[in-house]
């Protein structure tokens, strides 16, 4: 009898814990990752990315509030700021001027991010380590681009060997490689040399093109870019079609042939109608 009773109690307890465990499973795991960006040695910012796995597929998580810290995520003084993820799961934080003192203390930093818990997600954390580095871009008269990667060691900038980087021209929808080589690797002097092979590429009205050198998603240095404007493009003169007579032009600027055709037809047909109205007057006079 006791054995049967114990079995019932066991089944009830098992059911209870199952329900509890299902309830706990209702929350998904939030995964945070982070990237460090230094654009043209001028703008520094951090990008946090939030995602989760639902039905075996990764999905971006919007509307997650994320706190950004430098070096230590437990000290309120190290808080850089907060940002909320967008539809793509990205939260961007520009490095505030108040972080300068902390930034100058060391040549290496660890950035940390912590998400605020919500009904759907528990708190999650992420970190990224960054060594201070910079890119230098220079050009020669024979259209060669020299890019040097330097890392700050103690107080001196030293060249870095064996890092992949890209050299390209900035265009409207993305970057265009300067030649057929997609990626270059720095030599012992931290330098790469790329030949510019995009002659007659349209630039602005003065023929200006913007060259860009990039280190992307590097484990030590993060994302670095350097830019330089050169007059290597062909001059592009924008010719406005606004005042031209075209089918797609604004009012009063239709092509001459259309105006001639349309007005000729309208005037001809309405002349006939006016003539016929005149005929009614004539009939009227005949009847008086």
């Amino acid at each position: 009898m006791n054995t049967i009773k114990n079995k019932y109690i066991g089944v009830i307890l098992l059911s209870f814990f199952s329900i509890v465990s299902f309830a706990q499973d209702a929350k998904n795991d939030l995964m945070l990752s982070m990237g460090y960006y230094n654009n043209n040695n001028l703008t520094q910012y951090l990008v946090a990315h939030a995602k989760t796995k639902i039905d075996g597929k990764f999905q971006m998580v919007p509307d997650v509030t994320i706190k950004f810290f430098i070096n230590n995520d437990s000290a309120a003084t190290n808080l850089l700021g907060t940002a909320v993820t967008n539809d793509k799961g990205d939260a961007v934080l520009m490095m505030p001027p108040s972080a300068k003192a902390e930034w100058m203390k060391s040549v290496k930093h660890t950035f940390a991010i912590v998400s605020t818990p919500t009904k759907l997600y528990d708190e999650a954390k992420g970190t990224v380590d960054v060594s201070k580095a910079k890119l230098k871009i220079d050009t020669t008269d024979d259209k060669k681009i020299i890019v040097t990667l330097l890392e700050l060691k103690d107080t001196a900038w030293v060249p870095v060997k064996g890092v992949d980087l890209k050299v390209a021209i900035k265009r409207l929808d993305g970057d265009l490689n300067v030649n057929e080589t997609a990626t270059f690797t720095t030599d012992s002097t931290g330098t790469i040399t790329a030949e510019f092979k995009r002659d007659s590429l349209p630039g602005d009205k003065d023929g200006n093109l913007t060259l860009i050198a990039k280190v992307e998603d590097n484990d030590i240095y993060g994302n670095l870019t350097a830019e330089k404007v050169v007059k290597w493009g062909s001059k592009f003169e924008y010719v406005s079609q606004f005042d031209k007579r075209t089918l797609f032009a604004r009012r009063g600027h239709s092509p001459w042939w259309l105006e001639l055709l349309a007005y000729t037809i309208v005037v001809s047909v309405w002349s006939v109608l006016i003539y016929l109205i005149g005929q009614i007057r004539k009939i009227k006079k005949l009847g008086v």
């Binding site: 009012r251 259309l258 309208v266 016929l276 109205i277 005929q279 009939i283 005949l286 009847g287």
Partner: protein, 437 residues
């Protein structure tokens, strides 16, 4: 004998007062118009949000109704102009029916396009800021022109009849007599007057054909100049015109039967007229069917991805019931009915005419809305109801009200003026008698 016959024709064809049935008919039409007007007032106060039109289906049954009205108005040019210029005399009793259908339809086409505007008070901007390159501006020009030509084509042949009606003062009310006097008291049956009128009618008959072709070609270009699945077609002008002639002829068949039975015009609208008009409808239905095959078979053979979705929607999808209903009722059934001699008798021909008109209205809906619900880019981030379109009660009430309004114009015209030209009928009868002798 000749005088007696002439007198009999006049007595038969003079406008008649509304009987009990006529009064009920008019009351129903006025009620429908008032409901439509009330719905429009509601739409004016609340805005187009009361309709089911949204970002994608931005043209609904208002535009379908507009295309339908423009289409049916083309019959004026077919019966009056084409048949007159080709020296076909059997259509004489039908010319005025065709012209009044044309005038009332084109009037309501103009009205319904204003109804489709969210802010009708800004209509004048179309004239102030309209671009000559836009088919919408062309449409405004040709609709106005066609309206005036149709009015003149209605007026010139009416002049001799006005004199006849003025003679029968006892058969008219005071205000009608005043109207007849205003419109035609100067008509004295002088040969010079006839000469001018005949010349004017000939000029109008020639002018109305290119204008009629323009009006519906331009209406088709409102669609065809837009790059969308289902509209991106070079066939659209001819496709629309053939469909317009069909629906107009169907409308004439219906009107012939109604006027014949209601006004007892069996001597004037004969079996022969139904037989000939029935044959015209069969020919036009076959022509329209041919253009439909062109319109759907060619893209269906190629099945380009965006077209595929649209065509599947029509053939087997969401719009299939309406699509096949429209094809069957506007073309297949009328052909089957009217292809036999028995089918071209008045009543079956009347049924075929009704089928053509109803089917053609739905055909216009099929042309307008499904394309809008199948854009090239997928519909994203929009509420679920944006994916479908079903008109609201306001839209139905306004459309039915406009159709009732067009019928009301025809009804009042038939009450005031002879629906069969009296003078032309007398002349043709006299010529016929003369030929016999």
């Amino acid at each position: 004998m000749e005088n007696l016959e002439k007198e009999q024709i006049v007595q038969d064809l003079l406008p008649q007062e509304f009987g009990k049935q006529g009064k009920i008919w008019v009351a129903c039409l006025i009620a429908l118009c008032l409901i439509g007007f009330a719905a429009y007032c509601h739409q004016l106060s609340k805005g187009l949000v009361v309709t089911a039109m949204r970002d994608y289906a931005s043209w609904g049954i208002y535009i379908s109704n507009f295309v339908f009205f423009v289409a049916i108005s083309l019959v004026g040019s077919l019966i009056t102009a084409v048949l007159r210029l080709t020296d076909v005399h059997w259509s004489t009793p039908l010319t005025r029916i065709a012209e009044i259908i044309a005038v009332s339809a084109i009037t309501f086409a103009s009205i319904i396009i204003v109804v489709d505007m969210g802010r009708p008070d800004r209509f004048y901007n179309l004239f102030l800021h309209g671009r000559l390159q836009s088919p919408i501006v062309w449409d405004v020009i040709v609709i106005t022109t066609y309206f005036f030509i149709s009015l003149l084509l209605l007026y010139f042949p009416l002049l001799p009849d006005l004199k006849i009606m003025l003679k029968y003062k006892e058969r008219t009310s005071k205000w009608m007599y005043k109207l007849y006097s205003f419109l035609g008291s100067f008509w004295k049956d002088k040969p010079e007057q006839f000469k001018i009128t005949d010349k004017a009618i000939n000029i109008l008959s020639i002018t109305i054909i290119p204008v009629a072709f323009s009006i519906h070609t331009v209406t088709s270009w409102l669609f065809a100049t837009t790059y969308r699945p289902g509209w991106d077609s070079t066939n659209f002008g001819a496709y629309f015109i053939s469909g317009a002639f069909l629906v107009g002829s169907g409308g004439v068949l219906v009107a012939m039967y109604v006027f014949r039975s209601h006004y007892n015009l069996k001597k004037y609208i004969t079996y022969d007229h139904f037989d000939k008009m029935g044959k015209v409808v069969v020919m036009l239905a076959l022509l329209y069917l041919y253009f439909n095959v062109n319109e759907f078979l060619v893209p269906a053979f190629k099945m380009k991805k965006p077209e595929e979705e649209h065509l599947r929607g029509l053939f087997t999808g969401e719009f299939a019931p309406i699509f096949w209903f429209a094809i069957t009722t506007s073309m297949l059934l009328p052909i089957l009915i009217l292809v036999t001699k028995k089918g071209r008798r008045p009543f079956p021909a009347f049924i075929a005419g009704i089928l053509v008109v109803i089917g053609s209205w739905f055909k216009r809906y099929i042309i307008v809305t499904p394309t809008l619900l199948h854009p090239f880019l997928p519909m994203r981030d929009v509420p679920a109801n944006y994916h479908h379109y079903f008109p609201t009660w306001e839209e139905w009430a306004i459309c039915i009200g406009s159709l009732a309004g067009a019928l009301l114009v025809i009804t009042f015209f038939a009450r005031i003026f002879p629906i069969i030209p009296i003078h032309e009928t007398i002349t043709e009868t006299e010529e016929h008698e003369h030929d016999k002798k």
